[in-house]
């Protein structure tokens, strides 16, 4: 009798549990502490807004987000990923900002059969020989914005350009992407310390070389230091600044202020994009979070809407992995970027635009989109990818 009672009780308890298991579980590993906490916050806010924009559910399923703070450390991210895959049994992993974090967690996550949708990190490894049927990069391949600026400056006939980036793998990748298309002569190629405070010495060297333009990738706090000091050194009028969008995005522009005005960037999205999806996203984001969204937020918004479109196709089913993969590859959704599709290596094929940092009507620095530089731009690594069918 007692035993029967316990079974009944257990069954009672199990009902809500099994109902709960129907939720779509999303592992969200991003950076929520330290100097780059804003990037993780923008990514999460963008993702949540994306879920809200399609009715608060993805493909008709309730969403449960399992959040983890990688602290910008690959080893911490690896532990979080193991836990999310083994204990939480997430269906999809997303949130990752950094390529080194992605490289640390991708293999164990993919080996477990879990899907990865990267809302930012786009390392070359998974675009080429290591491409994987369950791995999708929704934002870009790291080289691409740099390639776009290389194409633009080559077209405009710039000669003698000075290159700067921090001395770590992504810094070298960025400049290599630029040099893949820019052949107009390099005045100097300087790798600075990661997270450097003072650039006075490097700027004095730059001035002595008399370059016609500067192309630099320095993001985050160091990017703020650099842009302020470049302006204070009086270099901006003689040596115009060019950069990939990450060096001057909405997460750091408010802190740089006027010092960045006049700089040119290459970007795949900016808040002033005219298409309807982008206009709605920017208006909703500003209403909900009282700040201008960055590309990190836009990419995460697209990630949520991509997931929704694919899940609608499979009727919410993620267990049939082959079908879910096909649905992701072909998913039709209104990207804030306008033109967006996946290449054979699951990396984006999209348009890149020239943008200028201008002073807005409110007196604040903003990104103003100019002309398109290149349409339907894929990446250089796709040819090495033998995607299994």
């Amino acid at each position: 009798m007692k035993r029967a009672f316990s079974i009944a009780l257990a069954a009672q308890l199990l009902i809500p549990l099994s109902a709960h298991a129907e939720d779509l579980k999303i592992g969200f590993i991003s950076t929520f502490s330290g100097p780059s906490a804003l990037l993780g916050q923008d990514t999460l806010d963008g993702f949540n807004l994306g879920v809200k924009s399609v009715g608060g559910k993805l493909g008709g399923r309730n969403v449960q987000i399992v959040q983890g703070d990688d602290q910008m450390k690959p080893d911490v991210a690896r532990q979080l990923a193991d836990k999310m895959v083994e204990r939480d049994r997430v269906d999809v992993m997303t949130g990752m900002i950094w390529s080194n974090v992605m490289l640390a967690i991708a293999k164990p996550v993919l080996d477990s059969g879990t899907f990865i949708l990267s809302p930012n990190a786009g390392p070359s490894q998974f675009a080429g020989a290591q491409c994987h049927p369950h791995y999708f990069a929704v934002a870009f391949q790291n080289d691409s914005p740099n390639e776009a600026m290389g194409i633009y400056m080559q077209d405009k006939g710039y000669k003698n350009v000075y290159l700067m980036a921090p001395n770590y793998p992504a810094g070298r990748d960025m400049l290599n992407g630029y040099k893949r298309y820019f052949k107009g002569g390099i005045a100097g190629e300087v790798y600075t310390q990661l997270g450097q405070l003072d650039y006075a010495a490097d700027l004095a060297q730059l001035r002595a070389k008399k370059p016609s333009a500067l192309y630099y990738f320095i993001s985050g706090g160091a990017g703020i230091n650099f842009a302020k000091q470049y302006d204070q050194a009086g270099l901006k009028k003689d040596v115009p600044m060019f950069a990939p969008g990450f060096s001057l995005d909405q997460t750091i522009l408010p802190a740089i202020g006027d010092a960045a005005v006049g700089a040119m960037t290459a970007t795949h999205w900016s808040p002033d994009f005219k298409n309807a999806a982008s206009a709605k996203f920017v208006a909703d984001f500003e209403a909900a979070y009282k700040r201008t969204p960055s590309p990190y937020a836009a990419q995460a918004y697209d990630t949520a809407r991509l997931l929704d479109a694919a899940l609608k196709e499979t009727k919410g089913n993620t267990k049939d992995k082959a079908a879910f993969r096909r649905a992701l590859e072909k998913a039709k959704f209104d990207s804030v970027r306008g033109n967006f599709s996946f290449g054979p290596n699951h990396y984006p094929i999209q348009d890149y635009y020239l943008a200028e940092i201008t002073k807005g009507a409110d007196g604040k620095a903003q990104v103003t989109t100019k002309d398109v530089i290149v349409r339907n731009h894929g990446d250089a690594y796709s040819k090495d990818c033998k995607m299994p069918n």
Binding site: Q41, Q193, L197, A201, A208, G221, K228, A233, I252, A255
Partner: protein, 290 residues
Amino acid sequence: MTPALAFEQLLNGLQFGVMLFLMSAGLTLVFGIMNFINLAHGSFYMLGAFFAATLIKITGNFFLSVLIAIPATAIVGMVFERLVLKHFYRRDHLDQVLVTFGLIFVFNDIIRILWGVAPIPMPLPEAFSGSVEVFPGVQYPAFRLAILVAGLLVAFLLYLLIVHTRSGMWVRAGSSDRVMASALGVKVSLVFSAVFAVGAALAGFAGMMAGPITAVMVGMGDSILILALVVTVLGGIGSIRGAFVAALLIGIVDTFARVLLPAAFGNICIFMLMACILAWKPKGLFPAHG
């Protein structure tokens, strides 16, 4: 390298060195005089910058903001010394490292809660926004010259205070022999509080000077703390003179190593310098005690 460029780089090195000195003066005072390791020193650097940036937003006046922000940082330092840190003076260095390392996280989170995660703007003062021709053909940003002058002035005032005043004598007495000094009527605990407040104010001032040229953001003090510790150890713990010489040395060596040597090598130069000097003088350049 042309003479003009070499001169400009020398100025850059000196200016960076002076900045490091402002940061490490407080650290070496607290370390040398109170025998207390304060890893949270970088947090006062951050607090100073946030206080000043916020006041500038309200008042619109850089100098007024700095004048208010310096005592504000000192008061925060003094409150923490009274409430938390004074209980750790007699504990060993490991306990001190643990509690002040924990305080770094506490301060970072307080800043995050009050100001948010986004870096905040801190404009240059209007009067120093241009550049000055310091040498034929060398334009140097006026604000960096101002940092150089302010740092040298602070160094001189500290020297006067410690070597030529009665309160300076108490400080030196307290550091040489705490028990004997208090037996002779020096209120050692009061002296320590004052030293800690001055140390916090100096770090805060360094943060205020760095604010307009660097990012004012959560964790901004963490990276400069490492360099300040190098300066402190290299100069001889507790020696203001040592900190001054070591800071200038590091500023100049770091600047020239970075522009003359390949990237990977330039970055480790100051640590190699530190290893060499410590091998030659294990107690630093100007040991304060014996």
